[in-house]
Amino acid sequence: MKGGEGEGVDVTDAVARRRSDKAKLTNDAELQRHYARMLLIREAEMRCGALFAEGAIPGFIHLSNGQEAVSVGVMAALRPDDTIASTHRGHGHALAKGLGLDSFFKELMGKADGACKGRGGSMHVADLSVGMLGANGIVGGGVAIAVGSALAHKLRGGDAVAVSFFGDGALAEGVLHECFNVASLMAAPIMFACENNGWSEFSPSSAQIAFTLEKLAAAYSLEYRRVRGSDVEEVAKAAGEAIERMRSERRPCVMEFMTSRVRGHYEGDMQRYRTDQGSLVDPLDVTREALEQRGVAPEILEALAADARAEVEAAVRAAQAAPDATLQSALEGVYAPKERA
């Protein structure tokens, strides 16, 4: 096996050890970065939950607790010019893709300079400047948008790609199947990224979906991979490989991330219907344990958590102090003005 540039052919044990240490260090650093992002999402969402409970955030709030590794792992493989379209459960996707924490909290609190000027709220967080084409209140609603975005990437040339996130429940929506077909026909560089948390709102998806995504992908001859969605490294690796292929080969693929919906469908959900609590896997636990096993000091992990808390705290404070959205701005914001075109 040939090594890379500058590496000798005679690899001694010591060198090998040093190299693997270095790789481990790199991996650790990367995993720490992943962990930090996941912590930030978790911390932000727990604050959302608390702010919702105390009435400071209204509306329907779907937290992605348990699914952070998918957001962070997939987004680690994406560039700012890549695009994603998300779901009702879109906080993690948005924050991981680069939506600022301030904009995020301001949006959820309905503030004038929230990400969407307070007009969309949790179900519509978006940041087009970083390629985050919006959470979506319609199950399956973002899938075709992502395919269109992928087609735009393809038509423009270059190697940007799009990712469509959707839940296992969305597999029942016809538009998703239309999109599998369209993307296949047009060889759009899109990843259909299913976050399979086992639930469609209050019903187990097994009672709603009669097929497996694997078999469905096979019907369209689409590359498919099932990934442990609680393992951010595995997610990042698998997504990274798939996305690299999409950059050159310009065709769709399907990935299924097996995840756990740690909380209720939305905040306020009493979850009386739930029976699977025993089997939930929390990616933050998984990642923390991995880091601990690799010898990362507890103080470092605590420092990361403290950083996340501080960042979130600052953003929440900024949001609370920010001015409310104004009706005038909303009234003027229904149509795009001609000049911008």
């Binding site: 329907f60 309905g110 503030k111 007009r119 709220g121 009672a207 009706l327 909303a330």
Partner: protein, 324 residues
């Protein structure tokens, strides 16, 4: 008379319909064991079982079409489209199929099908979970459209809708589910197409429906303090709507306000107003005023949603303007 919530009235009507007529089926997303997102079907799965109360996957267009097939097959499906915004996914089944089959097949078959759905703001649910789209359906020959305001209406109109041999769009208001009120005993009855005068008055007619009935009554109370005696008509059914009741009232009051939560432009109120500007023209002593949501998607933020949605204050203003 019993104290209950609006959602209970819906639930009671479904329960009674299931009890009385074995052809009645409930179909919807999370309506069986889970009892529906707003609890309207709670307990019915346990009581009537999986052959009467069917959970459906997140496939709104198929749901509408399947309901048409069930209706043609002798059943009386009551489907639930969880938010009215999601009817956008079921328009083919409802508009191209259900609405037209009886006519298009020369009267060969009926499509006794009820689409329960809920509209409106008040929960900061945002632009894709707050729309009032009843005008879409009122425009379609073959459909009936019903929108209850009170517990008695919710109960009686839902039963009447289920008993109707035609497809009926039955629109509940999400902010009403928790509303407490009286449910009459013995159980109230209602006929589709018949409006009700909720408050008699001689100075102005306020025509409205759904949750806005309560705003109109509040407006009438505050107008009374100004010495203006407003009549409030609750349409209850939007298609067909009770033209003669509105005209009769207008002939007494000579002034007209039409109010609803839906976007004013091209909304249901436009038809009422336009029709009265034709057949009631000679009765009119002032401009017909309309009240509806301003022309923008329903925004999420509390203060924005509140500002956009019409309420009693705007109705009062409109009444004043009929004199202007």
């Amino acid at each position: 008379m019993s104290e209950a919530r609006f959602a209970h009235a819906i639930n009671r009507a479904l329960d009674d319909a299931l009890e009385r007529d074995s052809r009645v089926l409930l179909v919807g997303e999370d309506i069986a064991k889970a009892g529906g997102v707003f609890g309207a079907t709670r307990g019915l799965f346990d009581k009537y079982g999986r052959e009467r109360v069917l959970d459906f996957p997140i496939s709104e267009n198929a749901m509408a079409g399947v309901a048409v097939g069930l209706a043609m097959g002798g059943y009386r499906p009551v489907i639930e489209i969880m938010f009215m915004d999601f009817v956008a996914l079921a328009m083919d089944g409802i508009v191209n199929q259900a609405a037209k089959l009886h006519f298009m097949f020369g009267g060969q078959g009926d499509v006794p099908l009820v689409v329960r759905t809920q509209h409106g703001g008040g929960l900061n649910a945002g632009p894709q979970h707050s729309q009032c789209l009843e005008a879409w359906f009122a425009h379609i020959p073959g459909l009936k459209v019903v929108c209850p305001a009170t517990l008695d209406d919710a109960y009686a109109l839902l039963l009447a809708s289920i008993e109707d041999p035609n497809p009926v769009i039955f629109v509940e208001h999400k902010a009403l589910y928790a509303m407490k009120g009286a449910l009459s005993e013995p159980a109230p009855k209602a006929e589709l197409g018949v409006a009700r005068i909720e408050r008699a008055g001689s100075d102005v007619t306020i025509v409205t429906y759904g949750a806005m009935v309560h705003e109109a009554l509040a407006a009438a109370r505050s107008l009374a303090e100004e010495g203006v005696d407003a009549e409030v008509i609750n349409l209850r059914t939007l298609q067909p709507w009770d033209e003669s009741a509105v005209l009769a009232s207008l002939s007494r009051t000579h002034r007209l306000v039409v109010a609803h939560e839906a976007v004013e432009a091209f909304g249901v109120g436009a038809e009422i107003a336009a029709r009265m500007a034709q057949i009631g023209f000679d009765e009119l002593d002032g401009p017909i005023m309309r009240v509806g949501a301003q022309f923008l998607p329903i925004p999420f933020a509390r203060n924005l949603e509140k500002a956009v949605l019409p309420g009693a204050a705007r109705i009062v203003e409109a009444v004043r303007a009929t004199h202007g």
